[in-house]
Symmetry: D2
Subunit: 263 residues, 4 copies
């Protein structure tokens, strides 16, 4: 059974800031946003968590293993180095979407994302060490079969991107609706999903759904671990097995497929 | 009439690098990718161009005003500071999608994106100064009506993101298919499209299409200029007019709406 | 009694790299070097250590609290994101200069800094948790009295810099020779020294020496802690007391001045 | 004859910011400072200028080729991405120290570096294009003979650093006092000096002075150009000639040694 700890990272009052006193140069915003994300990836990644850029002003992190002090340090350090501050909400649940719901509500309760007086809030309780297990986090790492050969080397880049994007949009909605899993595009032809325990059949069904609905062929490696990095690393290795053996769904060490009836 | 200069920035042989000799830590890849994008945004932005992260391993830039030397310098500088190198293809056309097609083909002709011997290629001819005009670039800056009130402060962050993502997917396909325009999500609830000259009606139709198909309400500011920054800045100011006046489509100074029959 | 854990961070074979195949653009080197240092500062700082840029190709870190795994992760992460790799040598001793000697020797023993086959070496044993104490690290934070009023707002910037630099050079040599302490310029008019336990008299003597030899007037706050951040933070607060009270040497909480006869 | 354009980059009211409301984490300051410098190096370097970190809160740039608009853009972009702002003073003169004096005075005239109301000032007039020549900038690139063999591979890193530092301190003062040249340590065993036109004898004398006073043996390559990069690149190549031929002073193409009587 999974127990995912998710952190919502929300830039405080960002929208208004971007146009005050007048609109700021778009490329300055892009530079600042992507470096802020890079810093989060570096900080959280070094503690074996994952973070996804999502909308950049709101980012979602898998933070199993990060305690309250780590969150406070991250928040302080960002505030010391950027022109903006961030608020952090933490939620924990077996189902990733529910964990994020808790995380989000904790920030919503203390004010709007565009409330100029709500700054550097930190809410929610991380999973205590004694409740952590070896399989708290399940990660599924999807990629597109032969994306380079079929798209990148054939189509103009935007049309390649449309294909990948459609595949992503289909996975994202299916996994959210069917399994309360959260799927994120991470560049290239890669999608990383934070999942509850799912069976091989459930992954096959997801892949079949995407192929039927938008014609994009995926494969997936699945891993479990006590944190996002361990789970994600096992998933990457499992995906390498897919590549090598031509298979579609592989579970890495530690990731017991859920029994078919579990869902 | 527009004359868009687009540059495809492609990381050389990136997929294989990410798993050699074994899969690299995902957050290291995320950090590296997003900082590379930030550097491109900073370099190109300071020359009044725009760049979009697209798939991160392939990025699309609007480079009107950047000559061959600028491109070569960018390429050299990236090679000196990153563990990866980039190839650059340049294309120019009235229609953005066609310009990108030219840019992409120039790289495809000299090898695959995963060809280990194809490195730091620079192909294509930038627009010469004497052919540049005040309206070469048209930028449409869309955002979602009251995204904070309707989504960010109400839904969990992933469900907010799904809404925004669906709006983006709908715009992106419609604008590509109907107008050969290229639309990019730039964070928050913002979408920036590189367009040919379009009429107000055509923008209204695009917005209506998105609302009908996925229920997301957009508004748009449109700007024109000799480069992406000038066009984009005018578009941002026009979007502020939408916000202030409650209108849906506004053209900034310099952006003559195309006549309805022009398309 | 102090017990300082120092890590030497050495870029592997950097000199040759900077001129191969021909000299690289100086500003690319500066950008790369200073970002690498920033990443080290961010990583080590978040674990309550300190790092100093020293010569940039060789950097010195106070790493009490970082274990072997932390060092390995840092090394791997740098290797994944930069065009260069780093080797790390760790040394522990009561006297900072001796700790650094151990750290340096561990790298020297396995090859030259310009040995093209010596890459990503990690040598030395961090202090185990059971041997760590509340006063392992002593930090002295010096600054120049009224540097803004006397130099920055009066002289051209280079002549201000010469004054500060002379003060630094004098402190650095005195503290090294008299006390095996390591002093680093950290910007502005600030010098941070990693010290053994010293008495108030010893600090007064150091300051008197600098004033006599180069005419630069310093003050100093001293702190102790289980790691560099705790010691350094106490030192900063003590320095604020100097500023407020007009005193020259202040010890922060936790930093017992060594008895005069201890040295 | 040289005509050096220097820009003083001064962080506005930085000292007070670093301790408000209480002292900020030192490693956050180090990260922020060194990234700010990296961004300046990247921006100015891409326009063929040079920038030196000096004291980090005050940095000195050689900006021949950057006009007022470039300076304004840099200032705006920093303000959009950092928690601090910068003021810029520009000075031009045949003698680098005099140019910097002009640059510094322009900022001093409008307020103190710690004046909380003096922000984002931009003062001084860049060299106009019609007055620029092929030899406006002279760069001398010094390094230490066999620093790796004599210091890095032999001494502990701090003692190596003391040697390099002493060499630097000696060069810096000599070149400032004798020739109004500005010398900057740029990492490793490298010193870059911005000079007026000097003869080979004058460089030999400088090197002899350093060896006699502190026992550090230097060699130097000298280059001239219309901007810092061209001059510095020629200097780097000339230094490679020193390395190859075992010589002590070499002038690159374009750098006519000044006649001995010129000084």
């Amino acid at each position: 059974m999974t127990n995912t700890q998710l952190t919502l990272v929300q830039i405080d009052n960002y929208g208004p800031w971007t146009v005050t006193p007048e609109p700021r140069r778009e490329m300055d915003l892009q530079t600042m946003q992507s470096r802020l994300f890079a810093d989060l990836a570096n900080f959280i990644g070094a503690r074996d968590g994952y973070v996804f850029f999502t909308r950049f002003d709101n980012m979602v992190a898998v933070t199993n293993g990060l305690d309250g002090e780590d969150h406070a340090l991250l928040q302080e350090s960002i505030g010391n180095r950027y022109p903006v501050t961030v608020s952090l909400g933490i939620g924990v649940d077996e189902r990733p979407a529910v964990a994020l719901e808790h995380a989000t509500e904790r920030l919503q309760q203390v004010g709007s994302a565009q409330d100029s007086t709500r700054r550097q809030v930190l809410r929610g309780t991380p999973l205590s060490d004694e409740h952590r297990t070896e399989t708290d986090v399940h990660i599924a790492h999807f990629d597109v079969n032969d994306a380079t050969g079929k798209y990148t080397d054939q189509l103009n880049e935007f049309d390649s991107f449309i294909q990948i994007e459609q595949g992503y949009a289909a996975v994202m909605r299916y996994m959210r609706e069917e399994h309360d899993a959260l799927s994120f595009f991470v560049g290239g032809d890669n999608i990383i999903a934070v999942c509850p325990a799912l069976s091989a059949t459930q992954y096959h069904d997801a892949i079949a759904h995407v192929e039927e609905s938008v014609g994009v062929e995926l494969k997936v490696g699945v891993g479990a671990g006590t944190n996002a990095h361990d789970a994600g690393f096992a998933a990457k290795h499992a995906l390498e097995v897919c590549r090598h053996d031509g298979t579609t769904v592989e579970f890495g060490s530690g990731a017991e497929p859920a029994e078919a009836e579990s869902d």
